[in-house]
């Protein structure tokens, strides 16, 4: 039963939670910039379109009617939003903020609705500029006053229905993990399969160039897509009363019915006992009784050879942490999905582009191995940090963080070699690409602790229900990606496509030279433009073999120097670090 005035309490909770998340974003410059960019770019695009087409459309005699493709597109976007919001729910919002306070103060219904309100406000914040522009643009283009009222109302309903559905799916997933032993044991594997399946199907709808693709019109049967008909009421676009009514009923049904179900599933999730799948306690004791260390037993069958002492202990601990909390590695998927989809696109465009797979695997694989363990070393320690600082030397700590990445070198090399040979490379360049991936792994692994210490993430952004899991900071991740991927692409490119690399490097002179020449009317600027263009021409004139050797040597030498310097600075940073 909900308490009297639960809706008011929920609104207050939602507003409080929303303000808290706004403050958190404001305090994290990197995240703030990324989100601002994510809002700004589409807003600018829509503004551009509005300026270009709105005056053309205004007053024109349009003969357009709503169709299954548009409805299907609206439905597909809704499914995408639900999936993303469900992920957010399982990852960070499966419990109310300040759970013990919230659940002893208000009813589960209040907590659920408060969470939905907060999440809806967050989505509205992101969508506000683009929504506002869309509304004004539509009203102006179609001379429709009704649109000024209807688009915000229906758009708002559409957003809230996606948020409610996302919460329901997220709570159900969290409930399955909490109650069903099979899901609890295989949480990570199942999560990866579901993400892969979703994006697989999503790409089938998004990429008509695929041999097997699906038409967006197929999703036109989903009633949530029918809200498209509601959005165009008052414009010359022909819409269907049946679809519009169906869309409205569907959206309201999702909000009301979904809210009702969310309350029930969340109550069970929050108040019932989770299943216990920790059956390995006896195994841990037996490992210890056999004389092997508990730590070594915990990371078995992996092991840390060669290194000894505290360095080995830190390395074993880093492996254990990744094994026990694989959610902390989720951040690795973002750039990999990015490069993965780009490579898939290139390959699908045909004509030998499959050759790009080997170099792409070299860079991505090398980066994954190097970024997995040491990109948030201070944040990973959590409340233990003061003890770690007073227990182990910076040298042992940093070496220990680098070691696990080096253990994965054979895997990185083998996978890259396989991908390169599969992509049509001869043995020698394939081995070269594999060696380059190993070099990237090593440099990336050595550089990671310094970047992670300079840009640590301590805040308890909750991932997988654990306040202790802290993924690396966004700035640290971006910086590490740039430091590994940019020279990495150049290095691998020197083996796979040296002419292209030479062209790109010479472009570093040509492009700014050309840009400056456009604005220079003589004097120093013109001289600078000429100098830069000459520099580009000089690079282009270098014989290819010499360029490969020289630029390759520069990249490798530079990498070694950067790594050495980063290692020394990281050791110093740890030894001098004051946690308070």
């Amino acid at each position: 039963m909900a308490e009297a005035g639960w809706l008011g309490h929920a609104a207050r909770m939602g507003w409080f939670d929303y303000r808290r998340s706004v403050r958190a974003i404001r305090d994290d410059t990197g995240r703030f910039l990324l989100l601002a960019g994510g809002v700004l770019v589409p807003t600018l695009l829509v503004t551009g379109f509005a300026f270009l087409f709105a005056p053309e459309v205004r007053g024109a005699d349009l003969d357009v009617s709503m169709n299954a493709t548009i409805r299907g597109f609206v439905a597909m976007f809704w499914f995408f939003a639900v999936f993303m919001l469900a992920q957010r729910t399982t990852a960070a919002h499966s419990e109310p903020v300040a759970e013990s306070f919230a659940l002893t103060t208000v009813s589960a219904r209040t907590a659920v609705v408060g969470g939905i309100i907060a999440e809806s406000l967050r989505v509205f914040s992101y969508a506000l500029p683009i929504g506002l522009l869309g509304t004004l643009g539509t009203a102006y283009a179609f001379n429709s006053v009704v649109s000024l009222l209807l688009i915000p109302l229906i758009g708002g309903l559409y957003v809230v229905s996606a948020v409610v559905a996302g919460r329901v799916v997220g709570y159900v997933a969290a409930w399955l993990v909490a109650r069903v032993p099979f899901f609890a044991r295989h949480e990570t594997a199942l999560g990866v399969i579901i993400v892969a399946l979703f994006f697989g199907v999503y790409f089938l709808f998004q990429m008509p160039m695929l041999p097997i693709s699906l038409s967006t019109a197929l999703l036109g049967v989903v009633p949530l897509g029918w809200v498209a008909d509601l959005l165009v009421i008052g414009t010359p676009i022909e819409w269907s009363v049946t679809y519009a009514t169906g869309g409205l009923i569907a959206a309201v049904a999702v909000v009301v019915g979904g809210g009702w179900f969310a309350e029930r599933i969340a109550t069970s999730l929050w108040f019932d006992e989770p299943v216990d799948v920790s059956t390995d306690s006896d195994e841990r004791k037996s490992v210890r009784a056999e004389g092997r260390g508990a730590l070594a037993g915990a990371i078995s069958p992996l092991g840390v050879p060669v290194v000894t002492g505290p360095t080995r202990t830190v390395a074993e601990w880093a492996l254990l942490r990744a094994r026990r909390e694989p959610q902390r590695l989720n951040f690795l998927l973002i750039p990999v999905f990015g490069i993965g989809s780009a490579v898939v696109n290139l390959v699908l465009q045909g004509d030998g582009s499959v050759a790009v797979v080997g170099p792409a695997v070299a860079v991505a694989g090398g980066w994954i191995a190097s970024a997995a363990f040491g990109l948030n070393p201070l944040g990973d320690e959590g409340s233990v940090l003061p003890i770690t600082l007073t227990t182990v030397s910076g040298r042992a700590f940093v070496r220990g963080l680098i070691t696990p990445s080096l253990l994965f070198l054979p895997v990185v090399a083998t996978v890259t070699l396989g991908a390169a040979i599969g992509g049509g490379y001869a043995w020698l360049p394939a081995v070269g690409v594999a060696l380059a991936s190993c070099f990237l792994s090593i440099v990336g692994a050595v550089v990671a602790p310094l970047i992670g210490m300079r840009f640590p993430r301590f805040s308890a952004i909750r991932i997988g229900n654990s306040d202790e899991v802290r993924p690396p900071g966004l700035l640290a991740g971006i910086l590490h990606v740039l430091l590994v991927w940019v020279p990495g692409v150049a290095l691998v490119g020197l083996i796979a496509a040296p002419q292209l690399v030479q062209l790109a490097v010479s472009g570093a002179g040509y492009v700014p030279g050309f840009a400056i020449s456009l604005v220079a009317s003589g004097g120093g600027l013109a001289d600078l433009a000429e100098l830069l263009s000459d520099g580009g021409a000089a690079i282009q004139a270098i014989p290819l073999a010499t360029f490969r050797l020289g630029f390759g040597g520069l990249l490798i030498g530079g990498g070694v120097l950067v790594a050495w310097s980063a290692y020394r600075r990281a050791v110093h940073q740890f030894d001098a670090y004051e946690p308070y």
Binding site: S278, S281, D282, R284, K285, R288, G293, A294, L295, A298, G309, P310, R312, T313, V314, E316, W317, L320, R321, R324, E325, G382, S383, V384, L385, P386, I387, T388, L389, T390, T391, V392, S393, A396, S466, E468, D575, E578, P579, Y580
Partner: protein, 263 residues
């Protein structure tokens, strides 16, 4: 021989003076009770003595190692902060073997010592093979204490070590503290539980507003208490950590109260 020595040790955070001109001289094998109200600067002092925070001015040594030299300090000190510093996703065995590994302690003797200390504090092997995320606050405190003393440090810094412990475990821990001191370990003990200090401390220092306002044996400090029918360390603590202005206001209030009662 002196285990902890500081001269004019001062820490400032912006305009806030956290520790002011602190002079300590603590002998080896002594249990030093460090008292003070919230915000007096006790934790900041401990952080400076463990090398976690650099002093703004002044100097200090712990077993001869300069407190700004973390490498020099590490082998000599153990530290139990107020919040048990443990990894939730690990078991007690894993956590403690990790701590032993970081200290480069030989495996077999370290395991024996872990077993012995855990047994002493009442943690079974079943408990120790369970993940720390499933522990009660008291169990966490016990594991954290074992972690702090595992390498038999010369000086151990304990911040509220009996917090969350049941009476039996708290007594065992007090006994362990006394044993450690008997074996030559210097114990720097910060707590708000005055009976613990009365029971185990050889010397007590009272910090107030960053300044050391009194130091002596518990009996010495009890003698200084001017009020109370039976003089106690609590009376001394309350008197020493009250502003003069506040004290006179309280006396006036009390006098007015007496007058009113009388009237």
């Amino acid at each position: 021989m002196t285990a902890i020595e500081t001269t004019a040790l001062t820490k400032r955070y912006g305009d806030t003076l956290a520790v002011d001109d602190l002079a300590l001289s603590i002998s080896e094998g002594v249990v030093y009770g460090f008292l003070g109200p919230n915000g007096a600067g006790k934790t900041t002092t401990m952080r400076m003595l463990t090398g976690l925070v650099r002093p703004t001015s002044g100097s200090g040594t712990v077993v001869g190692a300069d407190i700004t030299d973390r490498d020099g300090l590490r082998p000599h000190i153990g530290y139990l902060p107020e919040e048990p510093p443990l990894y939730d996703h690990a078991t007690a065995y894993e956590q403690l073997e990790y701590a032993a590994g970081l200290r480069d302690l030989p495996s077999a003797p370290a395991r024996e010592r872990i077993d012995s200390l855990l047994d002493r504090l009442g943690l079974s092997s079943d408990d120790a093979a369970t993940r720390i995320e499933d522990y009660s606050k008291g169990m966490r405190q016990k594991v954290a204490f074992v972690q702090a003393v595992l390498h038999e440090p010369d000086v151990i810094f304990l911040d509220e070590p009996t917090s969350g412990l049941d009476p039996r475990a708290a007594r065992t821990l007090r006994e362990l503290v006394v044993e450690l001191a008997t074996e030559g370990t210097t114990v720097f003990l910060s707590t708000h539980i005055l009976p613990v200090v009365e029971e185990v401390a050889d010397t007590v220092g009272i910090l107030y507003d960053g300044e050391l306002v009194a130091e002596g044996t518990p009996t010495d400090l009890q003698q200084r208490a001017e009020t109370g029918e039976t003089r106690s360390l609590e009376d001394a603590f309350l008197e020493l950590t009250t502003d003069t202005d506040e004290q006179s206001t309280n006396s006036t209030d009390s006098a007015i109260g007496e007058e009113k009662t009388d009237g």
